[in-house]
Structures are given as structure tokens and as C-alpha cells.
């Protein structure tokens, strides 16, 4: 909104006061375009230099003005390079405007307003509409990946719609490390409702000083999202859409039936057990479970129509979009559909008052499957199930026997019976059968919007009031059919149905008062404001059993015939109230300072520590504005920035400062079951705000007339008073409270370089960014100085946090090769000369007595890897030649480890990757893969560095080729532009990781980079078009 205001108002004034008659005048006209595709620019200011005479371009990019033949035209347009063109008597001047090579002239959204990037004191990164549009992303977070240094985005898995992990400047908390998302001024809980196609810009506030204006919830960084607004002029209608097909990138190499039987026999033999397979028999089946599981050409599509326009008083931008994506595992069972509608408008009622709205509705239907789990994961089962089991059992002799004849075995739509393994049990089942029985669906209807009014009684003094709501209804469906997957995974008694509906409602009322003025070279802006937010939640759910149905996708409670109806309903609420102020001051664009103070009160804390105060201060010095700065063509811009600030984090559950009484602790006596109650956890009335302190030093520079821009930042971010429910000894007898338990430090460097240039018909740009972050726990307040982390399969903990180590590092035994012979076993001694691993035999793993206490036991577990990358980087290049455009986007990480836990080594009969073919089978055969045995007395499969692999990767995220039809062709059909493109995502990934996908997001703060058979990301080929009228 602000943008329009500042761009257009001067233009009107110029038109109004234009003096038309100045001696000899001619009429000059022309068209202003940009790019090799000659895109017409609307609203460009064309003025006669040194006068107030001017005009702006219309929707066809055309302008007309009167001037003297000796005048010079001054052409300016936000985000583009300004030009001065002598008229020299011409009457037709067509102008090609180039986009600003450096972003320094841009306006940056800073929270409660915007600021010229040149005078910004903090570290703010902007992702443009164009970047967002180039990759087909379902969720907004994905558009940030690799675009800006210091913002690490990791996809949770390849499942459509899953929330990616976003970490700004490292993991600053052991709690919820998700940044705060603010859409058009309204903080929102999740942004899956938002159609990326509606976004105009994303600004990421990385340093504490920038984020401090959102003090209470800013500790993880703030992502400000501005949705599209309308532009004055003729209405434009844009259709954009694409259709894509997705396929699995690669299969993990698993043993085939022959190799599998040999290995199993060897495992039994090594354990002294009888061999399970007679190798003289020819195996009936040789199933490749991954081939069976991956959907071929899973579709993905998006269609969006945007209408925008406006007149002098009102502007609007509305859109409608329909998005659909099926997963490469499960297809329909792993699907995300979204319909969105948006209506943004802005009305200038009088010179003093304007109001407007940003309203969005979305409807989401989501079906999901477990995407990274050891137990009952479809992909995990595909990687562990034996190849001897058929996908479908067709042998009538087998079908006439138990379990096929006696159990509710699972069938596909055409009645074929899924095969059941005779060998692997537990949680490993036929993955297709597992998908077949899943019938859960989530539907969400969400309305997010705000209305605002701005009143400017005197120039520069603005009172703004904005009321926003985020209302979501979530409906969860679940149907549990009868099924028998194997002897351990079954439901053979009663079908059941559950439905749950939840209502989330947040309102926010925000009032700000600001005054900005320029007095000579002094420019200042003062802002004060208040925000009140209330969150309310209520849910209602029901459950019943025995559902006679032929259509498992349409099951309702009323169909159920059992008498055991159950209903649940709960509610929660919370509130936040904040007062804040900010002063921005700059002198001649040369020196600028920003100071912010915010006080937040949160209902999440008890009366002891309810309020938190969050100050910040930043300063910038644009050296190149100094008179002493040498005028040079090489370096034309140089700026230093420094900032300091404190942000808060309150992302814990409600009411953690009191203990709630749980009344589900009943017991049965003679008269029936009696109600029992006890506290849910030990209370801690003293919990207080988690605080994140950050120092940022940055430098921005521009070279070669803005062709090359560079910026670098160094930061130290220390979070103290981490809010965490740390595990406490079980003898306490109840769960511990959330407490302020520790500190974590993130230090890092961010670098960005962009080069852009153009020649005739040819325009190109290259950008590279990289960020280094070092994360370390500096304090933990429990006895152990440790916070235990994630578990894997049945092995228990595999990650933990500990003072002096990175958050959630991998923790296990260190190994030192394989015992090659008896001699090596007996020479693996402690300092007293005792054999360290007396139970080991040749072929077993040699473990290291890390603490040197003479025995190898649980105390020897140590650091074996770090899931968080040292470096994250992005590279993009674009090239436009005549009507063709081409772009490449590469993203990657360096220095992160992955825990390869996709194989259930604790279970017998599970299939193995072909890596096992290189196992130890005799002296000198392997020093990395132990012998294969079913009775593993040496516990070779314990959590050790043998599971750790390098997860560094470089991924060709997107490559795109586009063509725009000639304007002449378009004008015949009444359109203004029509572009076609073809693009590919995830075409190539370079990594040493041997699993299906090295990109594994966080399932929790302590659960990062553990591959339990992660749903891999698809390779997508897309065809798309954008048509504007």
C-alpha cells in the first residue's frame, strides 16, 4: 500500500501543475519497455529535467508529454535504473529501462512500514516475486530455499504439503525454532494457506535489531510477507498455470531374491542356527518393493487467475488459484489440494484518510502418510521387506491357507490380495497394503485477513489502525478398516471411525502512530504502537466402532453401529499485549540509526515473569556518500552496518506455569470405575521469556555502476533461558516442568554476490550466496548437562545436546574397523591388559573405549556427527536472449551428517542394501562392514559411527527455459504478453550419501537428519504458461 502511495502521488502533482506552454514546444511520445522480451512498463515517471513537467506511462507502456527540443527527459521507476535522455529534437523516443542491478535503491519492508534499503541498519534479505515465481512451490517456505544467505530451508521429505524446516541463522532454541511469519502485518500460525503466487515480496529480518520490533516472538527471525496489491490503470488479467509430472529420482540398491537368501542363510549359520532357505529351490518371487511403491508420473498442477487494476482512488488485486499435487509414494494417499481466493484493495477516501483490506480464503485437503518413520513407514517397509514376498499373492494353494483364508487380508481396488511376508515381521509390512488401509484426511478452511485505516491529519503524522483475524476450521477424518498386514500389525475385530473438528481463531488489533519528516538533511521517523492479540482454540471429536461401509473414503460417525460412542472436547486460549516504539534517523542518507524498544506481556507466563522488555539499536554509515570517498567506476557504493538487540521467544504450550490436574487416572472398584486425578507435571511458576541477544556487523558494496553488488554479515547470536521440558529422572514420578534451562550460541558469516549485465538483445545475471554457521550449546541447567534427543527404531537415543557441542548432535559408539582375526580380538586390550571385547569374534566391529575406563559400555558413547550443515549455499543464473529466457538455480549444504537408519538392523530377515555384499567374510575382506549374523553377541548393530554418512549435497533445484511470444502477435488477440516455459526440478543431486535423499528436515528440535526411510523428493518436469491481458 505504501508503495503505491509514494510512487504515484508525485506523478499526479506533476501532472496537475505541469506548465504546458514554454515557448517552442514539441510533443514527445514513446514506449517504455524492459528486458529482452520488451515487457511494457506501466506507471514509469517521465519528467522534463529541471521542471515540474512530466507524465507517466499507461498500461501499454506509452507516454506523451510536451517539451522543448533541447530538454532532457528524466526517466525513473522504482527498482529500475534511472535514465536521462536528451530529446535532441526527436518526437518519438522509445526507452529500454534496465532493472536495477543492485538492490540498494529498493524499498525494504521493515515491519510497521518500509525504509529505503540504503539507510537500513540491520540485516534484511528480500526475495522477489520473480524468484518466487521461478520454482513451483507448494509452500512459501520452499521459495526461500537457497535464495538468501543465513536462511536454511530443508524439506522435511518429499511428501506434498509437509512443512519444511526453516532456520534463520542457525538453531537458536531447543524449542520451536520456526521463524515468525507475518503476512501483511498479521502474524500467522502456519503459512500453508498462502498461495505463493499471491506474494509480491518476502523480507527476512535476520538480525535482532531488525526483528526487535516484533520483540516477543522474533528470536527465530521474522519473515515478512507482502501480498500483491493493485496498480493504478487499466485492469490486467493474468492466467498462469503449469502441469508437471513427478518421478522418483533413484532407487536404493537392495538385494535381490538370490542374494537375499544367501545372506540370510549366512546370518543363521554364523549364529549357529539352522539355515532357513534351501538354495536348490528356485524362489517364486523376486519383488523390487521400491519399483512397486513409487508412483510413475505423479501429477502436479497449478492454475491461477489474477485480476488487478485500479483508478486514482482505489486499487485492487484479486486472485483465484487451484493447486494439486500427488506424491510419488501413495499417489492419492499422499496428496495436497488447495484452492485459494484473495481480495486485496486500497481506497484513498480523502487526502487525509485511506483504508483497505487484505483478505484471503483457502481450502486445503490433505492426505498424508508417515514420511520418515521406522515403524509403519511405507518407504521404510519397502527398504526392509524381503524380495521373496510377492506384491500380490496369487497362488490358490497359499490363499486357501491361514492367514489368507482366515484373516481380513488387504486387497487392492480390483480385488487382488496383497502378499504377506513369511519372514519379516514386526513393523515391516507390505508397503502397498499399508497404504491401502490408510484413510485419513485433513480438510482446512481458513480465512486470513485484515482491514486497516490510515489517517494523516498533518503531513507526516500517520495514525494507522489495523484489525486482523486468522480463522481456521480443521476437520480430521479417520477410518480404520479391518486389516491383517502381518501377525503384529492387524485390526481384525472392529472397524472404527473418528472425526475431529477444531476451530482456531486469532484476532489482532494493532495501532500505530508515526511521524516522519525531513528537515534539510535530517530525516527522521518516530513510531509508537500497541498490539493486542488473542488466540482461541476449541475442538470436538467423536469416535465409534463397527462401520459397515463399502466406501472407506466416505465414512461418518452415524454409519457406525457400535454402542461405544465417545466424544471429546477441549479448549485453550492465550493472549499477548505489546507496546513498542522505534526511532529512525538519517543524515543525508549518509549516517543512519535505528533504536527500538518493545515490551511484551504474554499469558504463557505466570504473574511472576509475565513481561519481557526487548531493546535494540542499529547504525549504518554509507561511506560512499562521504565527500572524501573517491569517485570511481570500480566501486561506487560502500556501507557499513552494525546492530545489537534482544528478542524473545515464548513458543511453549499454554499454562505451563501452573500444573493442570489430569482426571484420566481412574481405577475400578466394586462399585465400578472411580475417577482419579493427579497433576500432569510438576509446576514451575517462575518460567520466563527465552531471550536471544544478537550482534550483527555487515558491509554492503556496489561496483561497476551497480553491476556487481556484494554484501557480507557477521553475527553472534546467543539465546539464553531456553524454554525446554528437559527429561528428569523417573524417580521424580511425574513429568518435569518447562524451565529456562540453557543457552545456545550461533556464530556465522553470510556472503552474497550478484552480477548482472546486459548487451543488445542479451541480458544475464549471476548470483551466489553462502552462509557459514557454527552452533554450540553453551549451558544446560540439569544435572547431566545434557538434553537427550531423538530416538531411532528401538535403539533409543541417537541425538543429544550437550554443553560444548552442537544442538542435537549424533551420539553413539566410535568404531575402529573390523576384527580381522582372533589375534586382533585378543590384542584389543585396555590399559590393564584385559581383552576389551571378549565376546567378539573375527568379523565383528572393534569399538573404541573412548573414556579409557577399561571397559566398553554405554559411557563410551560420544560425538559421532553433526546434522547441521556448516555451510549452506545457493547459486542462480539467468539469461535472456531476445524472446528466450533461461535460468538455473542450485542449492546445497556442506558439512552436515546424516544418520542412515533406513535399515532395521535390529530385526532378522530384513532385506539389506547391496552394501552388505562387501561385508566381512574372512580376513582382509572388509574393514567397514561387519560379518552378517543373526545372533549379534558383540552388538555390531548398536548406534555407532557406522551409521553416519556425509549429507553434504549440491542440488540442481531448478532449470527453466522460457519463450515469450512477440508483442505484435499478442496485440492481435488483445493480450499483452504470453510466455511458455518448460522446467525441471531436482534434475541432479551430487552427494556421497547412499540413502534415497540427503535432504531430511527436522521432525523436532532434536530430531534432525535421521533417515528412517525418508520419503524422497521427486524429480519434476513441468510445462507452464503465463498469459496476460
Amino acid at each position: 500500500m505504501k508503495k503505491i502511495y509514494s510512487i504515484y502521488l508525485p506523478v499526479f502533482l506533476q501532472i496537475l501543475f505541469a506548465s504546458a506552454l514554454w515557448g517552442q514546444t514539441i510533443t514527445v511520445s514513446g514506449t517504455i519497455t524492459t528486458g529482452s522480451a520488451a515487457e511494457k512498463l506501466v506507471g514509469v515517471t517521465v519528467a522534463v529535467k529541471g521542471s515540474s513537467n512530466g507524465a507517466f506511462t499507461n498500461v501499454d507502456g506509452a507516454y506523451t508529454l510536451k517539451a522543448s527540443p533541447r530538454d532532457t527527459l528524466a526517466v525513473s521507476y522504482t527498482g529500475y535504473q534511472s535514465l536521462e535522455i536528451p530529446i535532441n529534437g526527436r518526437t518519438q523516443i522509445d526507452i529500454l529501462l534496465e532493472e536495477m542491478a543492485s538492490a540498494l535503491g529498493e524499498i525494504v519492508v521493515v515491519g510497521y512500514g518500509s525504509q529505503k534499503k540504503k539507510v537500513v541498519t540491520g540485516a534484511i534479505a528480500t526475495v522477489s516475486e520473480k524468484d518466487i515465481a521461478s520454482t513451483p512451490v507448494l509452500r512459501v517456505e520452499q521459495a526461500l530455499q537457497g535464495r538468501t544467505p543465513g536462511v536454511q530451508v530443508t524439506n522435511q521429505s518429499g511428501q506434498p504439503g509437509e512443512e519444511p524446516t526453516v532456520r534463520i541463522r542457525g538453531i537458536g532454541t531447543t524449542g520451536n525454532a520456526r521463524p515468525l511469519y507475518i503476512v501483511d502485518g498479521l502474524p500467522v500460525g502456519g503459512i500453508d494457506y498462502l498461495n505463493p503466487g499471491d506474494i509480491e515480496s518476502i523480507d527476512v529480518l535476520k538480525d535482532a535489531a531488525s526483528a526487535a520490533i516484533y520483540g516477543a516472538r522474533a528470536a527465530n527471525g521474522v519473515v515478512l510477507i507482502t501480498t500483491r496489491s493493485g496498480k493504478k490503470g487499466k485492469a490486467t488479467v493474468t492466467y498462469s498455470g503449469y502441469y508437471g509430472i513427478q518421478n522418483a529420482v533413484r532407487n536404493v540398491d537392495m538385494l535381490n531374491a538370490e542374494q537375499y537368501r544367501l545372506l540370510m542363510n549366512e546370518g543363521a549359520r554364523n549364529a549357529g542356527l539352522s539355515e532357513p532357505f534351501d538354495l536348490n529351490e528356485i524362489p517364486t518371487h523376486n519383488t523390487d518393493w521400491q519399483d512397486a511403491l513409487f508412483v510413475k508420473n505423479a501429477p502436479m498442477s497449478n492454475h491461477q487467475v489474477t485480476v488487478s487494476g485500479g483508478n486514482d482512488k482505489s486499487t485492487y488485486a484479486s486472485s483465484l488459484s487451484v493447486f494439486s499435487q500427488e506424491g510419488i509414494i501413495g499417489g492419492e494417499k499422499s496428496k495436497f489440494d488447495r484452492i485459494t481466493a484473495r481480495f486485496n484493495s486500497n481506497h484513498q477516501v480523502s487526502s487525509m484518510f485511506r483504508f483497505g483490506n487484505n483478505l484471503a480464503y483457502s481450502h486445503i485437503v490433505r492426505r498424508g502418510i508417515g514420511s520418515n518413520q521406522s515403524f509403519n513407514g511405507a518407504f521404510s517397509s519397502a527398504l526392509n521387506l524381503d524380495p521373496l514376498t510377492p506384491l500380490f499373492e496369487t497362488d490358490p494353494n497359499i490363499l486357501s491357507l491361514a492367514p489368507y483364508s482366515t484373516e481380513p487380508v488387504v486387497k487392492d481396488a480390483s480385488g487382488r490380495v496383497y502378499g504377506i511376508s513369511n519372514y519379516v515381521g514386526a513393523e515391516i509390512v507390505n508397503p502397498l497394503a499399508l497404504l491401502e488401509i490408510q484413510h485419513s484426511e485433513t480438510r482446512k478452511d481458513e480465512l486470513v485477513g485484515n482491514i486497516f485505516g490510515e489517517f494523516e491529519p498533518i503531513a507526516g503524522l500517520k495514525l494507522m489502525s489495523s484489525f486482523g483475524v486468522d480463522l481456521a476450521y480443521l476437520l480430521n477424518d479417520g477410518f480404520r478398516p479391518l486389516f491383517y498386514l502381518n501377525g503384529a500389525q492387524l485390526n481384525v475385530d472392529q472397524t472404527s471411525v473418528n472425526k475431529a473438528i477444531a476451530r482456531f481463531f486469532t484476532w489482532q488489533w494493532e495501532n500505530t502512530l508515526s511521524y516522519g519528516r525531513r528537515i534539510n538533511d535530517h530525516n527522521f521517523n518516530v513510531l509508537v504502537g500497541t498490539t493486542a492479540t488473542e488466540f482461541k482454540y476449541e475442538d470436538l471429536s467423536g469416535f465409534n466402532a463397527d462401520v459397515p461401509t463399502s466406501d472407506p473414503n466416505n465414512v461418518y460417525l452415524n454409519l457406525a453401529t457400535d454402542t461405544t460412542w465417545t466424544a471429546y472436547g477441549g479448549a485453550a486460549h492465550s493472549a499477548l499485549f505489546s507496546v513498542f516504539g522505534r526511532i529512525n534517523y538519517d543524515y543525508k542518507d549518509r549516517y543512519s540509526v535505528t533504536a527500538i524498544l518493545r515490551r511484551d506481556g504474554s499469558s504463557k507466563f505466570g504473574s511472576n515473569n509475565r513481561f519481557g522488555i526487548f531493546p535494540s539499536f542499529g547504525a549504518a554509515w554509507v561511506v560512499s556518500e562521504e565527500p572524501f570517498f573517491p569517485q570511481s567506476k570500480q566501486m561506487d557504493f560502500l556501507k557499513f552496518r552494525a546492530s545489537w538487540g534482544i528478542n524473545g521467544n515464548q513458543e511453549i504450550g499454554n499454562y505451563q506455569f501452573v500444573s493442570t490436574i489430569d482426571n484420566t487416572r481412574g481405577y475400578t472398584f466394586g462399585s465400578g470405575r472411580a475417577l482419579g486425578s493427579s497433576p500432569l507435571f510438576i509446576e514451575n511458576a517462575d518460567i520466563r521469556w527465552e531471550e536471544s541477544k544478537q550482534i550483527d556487523i555487515g558491509v554492503d558494496a556496489g561496483f561497476f555502476q551497480g553491476r556487481l553488488s556484494a554484501s557480507a554479515d557477521y553475527y553472534i547470536k546467543t539465546t539464553s533461558g531456553l524454554l525446554e521440558r528437559i527429561p528428569i529422572p523417573a524417580h521424580v514420578g511425574n513429568d518435569g516442568p518447562v524451565s529456562n534451562v540453557g543457552s545456545v550460541e550461533n556464530k556465522g558469516i553470510e556472503l552474497a554476490l550478484n552480477w548482472r549485465n546486459s548487451a543488445k538483445n542479451f541480458k544475464y545475471s549471476v548470483g551466489i550466496n553462502g552462509a557459514y554457521n557454527k552452533n554450540q550449546m553453551t549451558k544446560i541447567g540439569n544435572e547431566e548437562k545434557v538434553i537427550p534427543g531423538a530416538s531411532w527404531a528401538i535403539a533409543g537415543q541417537v541425538t543429544r545436546s550437550e554443553v560444548g557441542q552442537p544442538i542435537a548432535y549424533f551420539w553413539g559408539y566410535k568404531t575402529a574397523g573390523i576384527f580381522q582375526n582372533e589375534g586382533e580380538v585378543f590384542s584389543h586390550l585396555n590399559s590393564d591388559g584385559q581383552v576389551l571385547q571378549p565376546n567378539a569374534v573375527p568379523g565383528d566391529v572393534r569399538f573404541v573405549d573412548v573414556n579409557g575406563d577399561g571397559i566398553i559400555n554405554a559411557d563410551d558413547r560420544t560425538f559421532i556427527g553433526n546434522p547441521t550443515p556448516d555451510w549452506t549455499f545457493g547459486f542462480n543464473a539467468s539469461l535472456e536472449f531476445k524472446r528466450f529466457d533461461f535460468s538455473v538455480f542450485i542449492q546445497g549444504t556442506q558439512g552436515n551428517d546424516v544418520f542412515n537408519g533406513m535399515q532395521r538392523q535390529d530385526l532378522r530377515f530384513t532385506n539389506r542394501t547391496t552394501d552388505v555384499l562387501g561385508r566381512w567374510t574372512g580376513e582382509g575382506t572388509s574393514n567397514t562392514t561387519p560379518r552378517y549374523t543373526w545372533i549379534d553377541v558383540n552388538n555390531n548393530s548398536r548406534v555407532s559411527d557406522l551409521y553416519i554418512e556425509d549429507g553434504s549435497h549440491i542440488r540442481l533445484k531448478n532449470i527453466q527455459l522460457g519463450y515469450t511470444l512477440p508483442t505484435s502477435m499478442m496485440s492481435r488477440v488483445g493480450g499483452t504478453s504470453w510466455r511458455f516455459y518448460v522446467s525441471a526440478e531436482n534434475l541432479l543431486t551430487l552427494t556421497k550419501y547412499t540413502g534415497a535423499d540427503p535432504e531430511i528436515g527436522a521432525q523436532g528440535s532434536f530430531d534432525i537428519g535421521i533417515d528412517r526411510g525418508v520419503y524422497p523428493q521427486a524429480r519434476t518436469i513441468r510445462f507452464g504458461t503465463t498469459l496476460t491481458f
Binding site: 549357529g272 542356527l273 491361514a402 492367514p403 482366515t406 484373516e407 515381521g425 514386526a426 489517517f455 491529519p457 498533518i458 501377525g487 503384529a488 481384525v492 475385530d493 488489533w509 502512530l513 457400535d562 472436547g569 477441549g570 486460549h573 493472549a575 499485549f577 506481556g601 504474554s602 499469558s603 504473574s607 509475565r610 499454562y655 501452573v658 493442570t660 490436574i661 482426571n663 487416572r665 481412574g666 481405577y667 475400578t668 472398584f669 466394586g670 462399585s671 470405575r673 472411580a674 475417577l675 482419579g676 500432569l680 510438576i682 509446576e683 514451575n684 529422572p729 523417573a730 524417580h731 521424580v732 514420578g733 541447567g781 540439569n782 544435572e783 547431566e784 537427550p788 554405554a858 535390529d906
Partner: protein, 517 residues
């Protein structure tokens, strides 16, 4: 001026919000009570007491594993194996069965956790009870019940883990989390004190509407069991405050139960574990399990009341009208079958695969025998819900025949009569009341009731090694390599379980692992 007026119109509500922010920010849970307004009325106290009883029924722990104490101790004994659907199904169980128990074993951890939950809830109510508005008689009984239950939970812990922290108050905050392990003696003495104090104040008669609540007789009988184990393992007497609990004192308590409680043997041994015999005259201490409320939630199993032992130990059979879909854990050993050969109690103790109709899936360590006492039999099926979670059989923790045999073992003048009563009930003739005969009778009378393993341990490591080592014994229906059925006891552990690794890690270096691990 006009502008000023409008400015005020904006500012006033802003200022008002600042003013009322205190109330605006004061939020309490909407759908639950909070600790600050609980523990006030008699009704609150009853709910708090029920929450302590609730833990009696716990057989699993939050996020850890199913570990019914009864099944676990029988798997440790020579009466049953680990079993389960296949070798993968019962990994932790098999670790127990073979005495290759890592400190990370989940069943071990599970038992540790749930017993301490009970201790916490008992301690909490003992701290709160005096501040509650209620009559003295009410408070006295509640305190006595809390003490009994605390004693029971401690006994479960100390006889399994030996070296455990002793807490008689709740932990108030992080500075108290780290606690040292107490000497076993201190723990046993506290148990004895709790039980003796409970004996003073517990009622003698429990009306049928209250059945499940603890009687004086239960406390006396439990103290007898505690004494026998402690005395057997440590060869010492208990000190309950100023009262010495020696052989004579323990016997006196048991004689009181035998003489004055009105408890007696049921006429028919086979009836003991029938549904109709719940809280029968024979039952001195019984833990309830049931199907109310009908339970569905696999994620919060202990919220329901079903007997998990029955589910775990039932045969893995489908299409049967008499047994349904157990998990075939703890299959009974040929050794126990041999011991019961010719004994009239054999059929009521052991379920043979030949008795099963329907289709039997033979699980890991299949022996062809299952428990008849706690099983997935039709009589104990729940009336709905997830059938695995709604098995209704109550756990008979202390039976009157156990009391008789304990008194006989402690040298009662009526030892012969007591032993004869137990034998005569099943039609066996009298044998001399020698210690060997009494102990042999215990094994046969009480097998598959979670008693055997501790009875073996308290007779010393030589005996335990002799009894618990199994090699080469094989029944006609065994399936699988003999290696899977051979067990070697580790006397270095003295039969105790390892302190869970997780607890050692969290103990600030205060916990020592038990010997032999």
C-alpha cells in the same frame, strides 16, 4: 482541532488496552482443573487416592514398553520363555529370558518408571491430606492406603533392582532431582514401616462396593512376603521404626490373617482364576483390571484398565471360540510341565495347544504350552473396544494358599495343617511339612503367578543357578533350534535387573550400575 479529536479517538482505546492488560493476560486452562484449586475437598482426596490405586494397574510406561510385572518375572524364571510372534517381536523379552539384559532394556525401564509414578502419587497425597477438609477417620484410612501402596511399589522396585533411591516426599524442584541410591536395607525398612503403620489403620472388612481397596489382611500378608524375600536374600531382619520385624513378627501377622481375616481357600482350584471368583474368599490382595471404560487408545494404554498380561500370554490363535488372538509371549516350559506331571493342578495351570480350536500361529520359542491362569480366554474378553486392551481378568497378587504356605515356611506350629489344607483342596494326600516340601508346594500351587522367580532368588545363587540354567530340555511340540531354548543364569547379577541406563545418565553420576552389568 478536528484532527486532534480524531487522534484521541484512536489513542483512547489504545490506552484502555494498556490499562486492562493485566486481566487480558491472565489465562487459566479452560478444560482442566489446576493444582492451585485442587486438594481441597474430600471428593478431591478420593480422586487423588484413586490416582494412586490407578498405578497398581499399570503394566506399561509412557512411551516405553509393555512390561506387566507378572509376565516379566515369569519370563525371568524357568517356568516360561520370552516368546512373541517371531524373534523380532520379543527382543527385549528375550534379553530378560536369556539374562543377556542390557541396561537399555525397555521392559526394565518401564517397570522402574511406573512404580515411581505410584510412589510420587502416594507421597503427594500424604503431603496434601492434612490440608484437606475432611473427617479424621477418612484421613486415617486414606493415609494407611497410601502407605500400603507406597510399600507395595517400593517392594516391586527393590526386589527387582536392589539399589534404588528412596523418597518419602515428593521432589519439589530441579535442585532435588538428583538423588542417591539408598541401601536396600533402608528401603526394606521403610516398606516394613509403611506396611506396619497401614496394618494399624486399614479396615478389616471391605464392603463389596469397595472391593479392590486395601484391607488390613493384605498389608499383613504383603509384609510376610517382604520379610521372606529380605530374610532369604540378606539373611537379616527388618526394622520398622522401633519395631523389629523378625521371623516371629512376620509369622504373627500371617497367623492373624489365617486366624481372623475370614479368608479361606476356594473349594475348587480351577475356579480361582474364573471371572466369578474375583474378590473371592481366597483373594487377600487383588489388583483390578477391566473393560470400563471401553478402551481404544494404543497411544495411552494405561488410561484403560485391561490386563496386559492376559493379552501377552494368550495363544496366538484365530477363529477360536474359546481363546482369541493373544501374542504368545511367555510360553510355558517343558520343565514346568514336567514338574506338574501328575499334579491335579496341571490342567488349571497349563493350556496345551491341543486344547485350542481355531488356527494357531506358532510364535517364537513355541513350546506348545501357554498359561491357563492369565490368558485370552473367552470369559475374560472385554465387552468392546480394542480387544487387546480390554482383557478383564484381575490380578490375584496374594492368595490365601500363599499365606498358608508362607506361615508354614516361617515355622508356624500349624505348618503341617497349613500345608495339608493347600494339598487337600486339590485332593493330594499329606506330606511332611519339611522346608523342601513347603517350597515345592509353593512352586506347584503358585506357578505362573509371578512368584517363582523371587522364590528361587531368595534361596541363594547356587540354588538359582541350578534351577534357572536350562539346557537341552525340549518338549514334543517345541519349534526351533535348541539354542533358542537354552538359558544360562548369571549369578554375578544375583538375579537383579540392571539400573536403566537412562536413569544412570540422568543421575548426575550418583547412580551406580548393579554388579554383573
Amino acid at each position: 482541532m478536528k484532527a486532534h479529536k480524531r487522534t484521541l479517538q484512536f489513542l483512547v482505546p489504545m490506552l484502555l488496552l494498556v490499562g486492562c492488560s493485566k486481566d487480558f493476560l491472565d489465562r487459566k486452562p479452560l478444560d482442566q482443573e489446576v493444582s492451585t484449586n485442587f486438594y481441597q475437598t474430600e471428593d478431591d482426596a478420593i480422586q487423588a487416592l484413586v490416582a494412586v490405586y490407578d498405578v497398581l494397574g499399570y503394566q506399561d510406561s509412557p512411551g516405553v514398553s509393555w512390561a506387566p510385572a507378572l509376565t516379566v518375572s515369569d519370563m525371568l524364571s524357568d517356568d516360561t520363555y520370552a516368546g512373541g510372534g517371531d524373534a523380532n517381536d520379543g527382543l527385549d523379552e528375550n534379553e530378560l529370558n536369556t539374562f543377556n539384559i542390557p541396561a537399555t532394556n525397555q521392559l526394565v525401564h518401564s517397570m522402574w518408571i511406573y512404580n515411581y509414578i505410584g510412589i510420587y502419587r502416594a507421597n503427594l497425597l500424604l503431603e496434601k491430606i492434612d490440608g484437606i477438609e475432611a473427617g479424621d477417620a477418612f484421613k486415617t484410612r486414606v493415609k494407611a492406603e497410601c502407605k500400603f501402596l507406597r510399600g507395595y511399589f517400593y517392594f516391586q522396585l527393590v526386589r527387582s533392582f536392589e539399589n534404588i533411591p528412596l523418597l518419602t516426599q515428593t521432589i519439589k524442584g530441579p535442585s532435588e532431582y538428583a538423588q542417591p541410591q539408598s541401601s536396600p536395607q533402608a528401603v526394606y525398612n521403610q516398606i516394613a514401616l509403611d506396611l506396619l503403620e497401614a496394618v494399624q489403620d486399614l479396615p478389616q472388612v471391605i464392603p463389596s462396593s469397595e472391593s479392590g481397596r486395601i484391607s488390613k489382611w493384605a498389608a499383613e500378608a504383603l509384609l510376610g512376603r517382604v520379610f521372606l524375600f529380605y530374610n532369604g536374600v540378606y539373611n537379616a531382619d527388618l526394622q520398622a521404626g522401633s519395631v523389629r520385624v523378625d521371623r516371629a513378627k512376620a509369622l504373627e501377622l500371617l497367623e492373624d490373617v489365617i486366624g481372623n481375616s475370614g479368608h479361606d481357600l476356594l473349594p475348587n482350584y480351577a475356579d480361582i482364576f474364573r471371572l466369578a471368583s474375583e474378590f473371592s474368599v481366597e483373594s487377600v490382595f487383588e489388583i483390578t483390571h477391566g473393560d470400563s471404560p471401553i478402551w481404544w487408545d494404543w497411544g495411552y494404554v494405561r488410561g484403560g484398565e485391561g490386563n496386559l498380561s492376559a493379552q501377552m500370554q494368550g495363544p496366538r490363535v484365530t477363529g477360536s471360540t474359546n481363546w482369541n488372538r493373544g501374542w504368545s509371549f511367555a510360553p510355558v516350559s517343558q520343565k514346568l510341565v514336567d514338574a506338574l506331571a501328575g499334579d491335579p493342578r496341571q490342567d488349571a495351570t497349563i493350556l496345551r495347544q491341543e486344547e485350542l480350536d481355531g488356527t494357531l500361529a506358532k510364535g517364537f520359542q513355541h513350546t506348545g504350552y501357554f498359561s491357563q491362569k492369565y490368558s485370552s480366554d473367552a470369559e475374560h474378553w472385554g465387552s468392546g473396544g480394542q480387544f487387546e486392551l480390554n482383557r478383564t481378568c484381575n490380578n490375584r497378587v496374594i492368595r490365601f494358599s500363599d499365606v498358608l504356605l508362607m506361615a508354614a515356611e516361617l515355622g508356624s506350629p500349624n505348618a503341617q495343617t497349613y500345608l495339608d489344607r493347600v494339598r487337600a483342596r486339590v485332593g493330594l494326600s499329606s506330606v511332611p511339612a519339611s522346608l523342601d516340601n513347603i517350597l515345592r508346594e509353593r512352586r506347584l500351587e503358585l506357578s505362573l503367578e509371578g512368584i517363582r522367580y523371587f522364590d528361587v532368588l531368595r534361596r541363594g545363587m547356587a540354588f538359582a543357578t541350578q534351577e534357572l540354567n536350562v539346557s537341552g530340555v525340549r518338549g514334543p511340540n517345541y519349534v526351533g533350534d535348541q539354542l533358542l531354548f537354552d538359558v544360562a543364569f548369571k549369578p554375578a547379577t544375583r538375579g537383579f535387573l540392571p539400573i536403566p541406563q537412562r536413569e544412570i545418565d540422568l543421575s548426575a553420576g550418583l547412580f551406580q550400575q548393579n554388579a554383573g552389568y
